[in-house]
């Protein structure tokens, strides 16, 4: 950003990555970005819980590439990146949801759709004559470019996603853990799947505009993957996951302020480090923890034999 110009001559790489001069003034400039980041972190963390439970990380990636294509098309047409990203990801989510009810079908459909979407996006970007910063931003993030109307859209979308998830929370959890039994208990399993894909598409569309199409998974997958390593409580997983998402994105923005590189590497790195720590804790827990969480009455015979 601005610092690139100041620290251009003879500066070392670290100066580009971490530089906290004039930090207070910078904070004011990125108020919108911080709000957007906080919203994205929380929504991403919440959605990623179900992405992990339903084994959909690859679908997230596929949807985000088509969202990118939609956003790129919108740049040419001049209709706004928000509308484009939204259209692309909703279409992709619905196609994947409709054609791929089984995991194998789903993966092959995503494998077919994703390069097509990415190719379309590249085509649209090469035809686009506007600012080149916009082009790169769609793939790797452009959070500093968030303006107020864009932020409003983002918040509305986030509210829709969260409200939708809260309404279908229990049946979706049931259908994600045991679809056959859920159906037998009266859960409309066939209806929940496209509804969730739609909400996922909306969440991806928000993420693409902020973190970039290539890096969406660090917000809509990693947080819950990390949380599921340290707890099996169906309440704690989404709460932890939201915390991880929030810390990654907001922390990433705050660190990126004092640097001349984009925010995305900070976000992805924090997200990855959280996952690493959780994995280590999880590994320890698997070897010690679960057996201890069995109540002591569980093995009176074993205890007697041991003592």
């Amino acid at each position: 950003m601005i610092h690139l110009l100041e620290s251009s001559v003879g500066s070392d790489v670290w100066r580009q990555i971490f530089d906290f001069a004039n930090y207070g003034e910078l904070l004011d400039l990125v108020r919108n970005s911080l709000i957007a980041g906080a919203v994205l972190g929380l929504v991403g963390g919440l959605v990623s819980t179900f992405v992990m439970m339903r084994d959909l990380p690859f679908a997230v990636h596929g949807v985000s590439e088509l969202s990118f294509a939609g956003a790129a098309a919108a740049l040419i047409l001049g209709v706004g990146v928000v509308v484009g990203a939204m259209t692309g990801s909703i279409l992709a989510a619905l196609v994947i949801g409709a054609l791929g009810s089984r995991a194998r079908d789903r993966n092959s459909i995503i494998g077919v759709l994703m390069p097509f979407g990415l190719g379309l996006g590249v085509l649209f970007l090469s035809l686009y004559k506007g600012r080149s910063a916009n082009k790169f931003g769609l793939l790797t993030g452009q959070i500093v470019a968030i303006d107020t109307p864009q932020l409003r859209w983002l918040i509305i979308t986030a509210v829709v996603v969260v409200a939708g998830l809260l309404v279908i929370w229990r049946p979706l959890t049931f259908a994600s853990t045991d679809p056959e039994l859920a159906a037998a208990r009266g859960v409309p399993v066939g209806l929940l799947s496209p509804i969730f894909m739609l909400l996922l598409g909306l969440a991806v569309a928000i993420s693409v505009q902020i973190i970039g199409a290539l890096l969406v998974l660090s917000v809509i997958c990693t947080p819950a993957a990390a949380a599921m390593r340290v707890t099996a409580s169906p309440r704690k997983v989404p709460l932890l996951s939201m915390t991880f998402g929030f810390v990654s994105v907001v922390g990433g923005i705050l660190l990126a302020l004092g640097s001349s590189v984009p925010i995305s590497p900070y976000v992805t790195t924090i997200s990855f480090l959280i996952y690493l720590v959780c994995r280590v804790i999880g590994a320890w827990r698997t070897s010690h923890g679960w057996s201890r969480s069995r109540r002591s009455t569980a093995q009176p015979a074993a205890a007697a034999a041991g003592g």
Binding site: M53, L166, V167, R170, T173, F174, L181, A232, P234
Partner: protein, 274 residues
């Protein structure tokens, strides 16, 4: 079985189910009384699971009717409990044993379920009934197959159903776990009068408890006591081919079941014994 004056828990009248252009079974009349243990036997593809699905309201009958406790079947009814075969679940899935049981209670309702309104007391009670309380807090995916089936049993019983439907719940369980599960089913129907419909391809693990057998084969069926149905004569007539039924040391062995056209991989000779 003996005719009683009380209304049957499960009643099928002239029921028929069609799969594509194939009639799985038709003209099925069946009454299951409270506390009765009915075993459903038959080769693969004979429509055993489809029978359970039509009782659960997941499969439409071509003709006839099914009623549970005198009412037409409704999907998701609390009057029915359903236990499926053991299946592996990802150990990282964020559901503990008690969460699985809770799903049987309110997993189908919309919303998140307010923490103070969850009936954990009923969950605890159901877990205690099957002896699964010690591992209530353990992730379901890391439990052993036998422990998972106990928890599934608690899940099916948490609504205090009048009818318990079991679909091969003993599959891939060791002998001890099989005894535990069949014992739990038997105790439940004795103490609570729950009617049991138990689909299995092995009669021997449930032989001590079975009141009656429904044997499905090639679109036809026989209903009766073990001694009436599991004989060389009855099964030969049902399959239209010579079948040998041998009783040995309290076990029943069946040999010579013809290969079904619907399941080409089915072995030519099937043993009902484990």
């Amino acid at each position: 079985m003996t005719s009683t004056s009380s209304a049957p828990v499960l009643q099928l009248r002239d029921a028929a189910v069609v799969h594509g252009d194939r009639t799985l079974w038709s003209g099925l009349d069946l009454d299951v009384q409270a506390g009765e243990f009915l075993a459903v036997l038959g080769a693969n593809g004979s429509g055993k699971t489809t029978l359970l699905k039509s009782i659960l309201g997941l499969q439409r009958l071509r003709s006839g009717s099914v009623t549970v406790a005198g009412r037409p079947v409704r999907r998701g009814s609390n009057r029915m409990g359903y236990v499926q075969q053991q299946r592996r679940l990802d150990p990282l899935m964020p559901v503990r044993a008690k969460d699985v049981v809770r799903q049987g209670l309110d997993g189908h309702r919309f919303g998140v379920g307010l923490p103070w309104r969850v009936r954990w007391d009923r969950v605890e009670q159901a877990l205690a009934e099957v002896g699964a309380s010690p591992y209530a807090e353990v992730p379901f995916g890391v439990l052993s197959g036998g422990e998972q089936q106990r928890v599934r049993m608690a899940q099916a019983l948490v609504t205090d159903p009048e009818l318990l439907l079991c679909d091969e719940p003993l599959l891939s369980l060791d002998l001890n776990s099989q005894r535990t599960i069949t014992g739990l089913v038997d105790r439940r129907r004795r103490e609570h009068g729950t009617a049991v419909v138990f689909v299995t391809h092995e009669i021997n693990p449930v032989l001590p408890y079975v009141d009656r057998v429904l044997y499905l084969a090639g679109g036809r069926f026989r209903i009766g006591s073990v001694d009436e149905v599991l004989t060389s004569g009855t099964l030969s007539e049902l399959y239209g081919a010579p079948i040998e039924v041998v009783r040995s040391g309290g076990r029943i062995l069946v040999a010579g079941i013809p290969e079904s056209t619907q399941s080409p991989h089915h072995p030519a000779a099937e043993e009902l014994a484990s």
